[in-house]
């Protein structure tokens, strides 16, 4: 066990990453209570194994790795089979909107509520969701995401690519259902 002062310093530094861990746990579990349990256990485990953390390396990535490994152990029994997203094929929202005459395309994004984006992220299979959380939400590099997840960079890139396509398809479906986009004939984005 570390000296009390060193332990306090370690805990203080670790707590600066709490929001990242909590957000990640919330998006993985979809439940605030489970997210808090998961994060608390992750911090306790981090404290217990702080000797394995190398000062000066990426503590945020190290903590996230502990949390997501606990998630898979507790909620998934370490089984990391995932729903394949390959069936979707290539779906590029920008091209889809352009084909349908929505110009400028980015106006469609401005009309999508944040809650719908979160919902689309939540619908991703966990192995794909966690890559989006790390790279798009938390700004991890591909290498840090790969280290955190324990997979090659190529796997991060392929999961991210498929996850983004699925996400774009979900947002497109929402835009159609809510009337933001009218397939096959829209000439401009309706003004609100």
């Amino acid at each position: 066990m570390a000296e009390p002062a060193a332990q306090t310093a370690f805990a203080e530094e670790a707590l600066t990453h709490l929001d990242t861990l909590y957000r990640g746990a919330l998006r993985l579990t979809h439940d605030p209570d489970q997210a808090q349990d998961l994060v608390q256990e992750a911090y306790l485990r981090a404290l217990r194994y702080q000797h394995s953390y190398q000062a000066g390396t990426n503590m945020r990535a190290w903590l996230f790795a502990i949390m997501r490994n606990l998630f898979w152990d507790r909620f998934k029994g370490s089984r990391k089979e995932d729903v394949s997203l390959d069936d979707l094929g290539e779906f590029v929202l920008f091209e889809k909107l352009r084909d349908e005459g929505a110009r400028p395309e980015a106006d469609v994004l401005d009309k999508i509520a944040a809650s719908e984006v979160v919902s689309a992220v939540d619908k991703l299979p966990p192995l794909h969701r966690e890559v989006v959380l790390l790279v798009d939400v938390e700004g991890f590099s591909y290498k840090d995401a790969a280290d955190t997840l324990g997979v090659p960079i190529g796997t991060v890139m392929s999961r991210l690519h498929r996850a983004r396509q699925q996400l774009q398809k979900s947002l497109y479906d929402y835009a159609v259902e809510s009337g933001i986009v009218r397939p096959g004939g829209m000439k401009q984005v309706p003004q609100t």
Partner: protein
């Protein structure tokens, strides 16, 4: 650089994962190709939308304090 190659590299350009040479090649193509520039701006906009939609969740204050006590 052709539009197809630019499109292939767009994700990594948006994520700042290209090396300096590749990033410069993409940047030069974008500056001369309005269609690809529109596509780039759309993907960058979408990435910001995902980030800002998801990063508003923060740990509750009471939970932070509880953790601080447990860890001290």
């Amino acid at each position: 650089m052709r539009c197809e190659e630019c499109s292939d590299k767009l994700d990594r350009y948006v994520d700042r994962e290209l090396n300096d040479t590749e990033a410069l090649q993409v940047q030069l193509h974008l500056e001369g190709c309005p269609d690809c520039m529109d596509h780039y701006e759309f993907e960058a906009h979408l990435k910001r939308l995902v980030k800002h939609s998801c990063d508003c969740d923060t740990a509750p204050k009471a939970f932070r304090e509880k953790l601080r006590q447990i860890l001290s």
